[in-house]
């Protein structure tokens, strides 16, 4: 069964450093998402991406964040200058399309980011 994959599984970085989290969505899916989950809290939406552009972003997704689909398979989240409060589990998700019956989002296993 096709799965969303994410790398790395764990990332430790120093405050102020840049990190890039990588995702390979399910092939033939058209919508891509990033969510984060701070330890013990609920999953929060960061950004949705369709047709090579951001569809929607939350207030968490400020100028320090960016997303990119550099090729036909990868989808990346970049944090330019990490802060302590960016420590969280970051989940990538994808869905086939945005219409009825195709909008179910499938999640990857996550990247645990720790900012020291």
């Amino acid at each position: 069964e096709p799965e969303v994959t994410q790398t790395p599984s764990h990332q430790v970085t120093q405050m102020g450093q840049e990190v890039i989290l990588r995702c390979v969505p399910i092939s033939n899916h058209l919508y891509f998402y990033w969510y984060r989950q701070i330890l013990g809290q609920k999953v929060e939406f960061l950004v949705s991406f369709y047709n090579n552009e951001i569809s929607e972003k939350s207030e968490i997704f400020d100028d320090q964040f960016s997303v990119e689909r550099p090729d036909g398979s990868n989808f990346t989240l970049k944090i330019r200058s990490t802060k302590l409060e960016d420590s969280a589990m970051y989940f990538c998700a994808s869905s086939p399309n945005g219409v009825a019956g195709g909008e179910t989002q499938y999640f990857g296993p996550g990247t645990r980011l720790l900012v020291l």
Binding site: Y33, K42, V43, G98, T104, Q105
Partner: protein
């Protein structure tokens, strides 16, 4: 109910019994709802979904009920098994025109006692 920090509502259930997990959603314009299961250290796993033009949908051992009048969702798990121990989240799809963002509820932890 909603969770605050680490204080997730917890449902303890005996193996073999049925479980009912409840969720209140906030946006009356949401028209698509999903239940996810999250095991420790893993990503949310799709369980079942329901559209707002339905009030009940059944899957394998799971049933989702939707009450739009009071903006309430429930997930029923029949014959709960140890492998069902996890945190369960409901999620609503809002703002479809902008990309189907999921808004998650606070989660309920289910502990299955053997």
């Amino acid at each position: 109910g909603e969770s605050v920090g680490l204080h997730l509502p917890t449902l303890s259930v005996q193996e073999g019994d049925n479980s009912i997990i409840n969720c209140a959603y906030s946006n009356s314009a949401s028209d698509y709802f999903i239940w996810y299961k999250q095991e420790s250290g893993k990503g949310p796993q799709f369980i079942i979904d329901i559209r707002s033009n339905m009030d009940k949908r059944q899957g394998q051992r799971v049933t989702v009920l939707l009450n739009k009048t009071v903006k309430h969702l429930s997930l029923q798990i029949a014959a709960t098994q140890p492998g069902d121990s996890a945190v369960y989240f409901c999620a609503e799809v809002s703002n479809k025109a902008a990309g189907n963002k999921l808004t998650f509820g606070g989660g309920t932890r289910v502990l299955v006692k053997p």
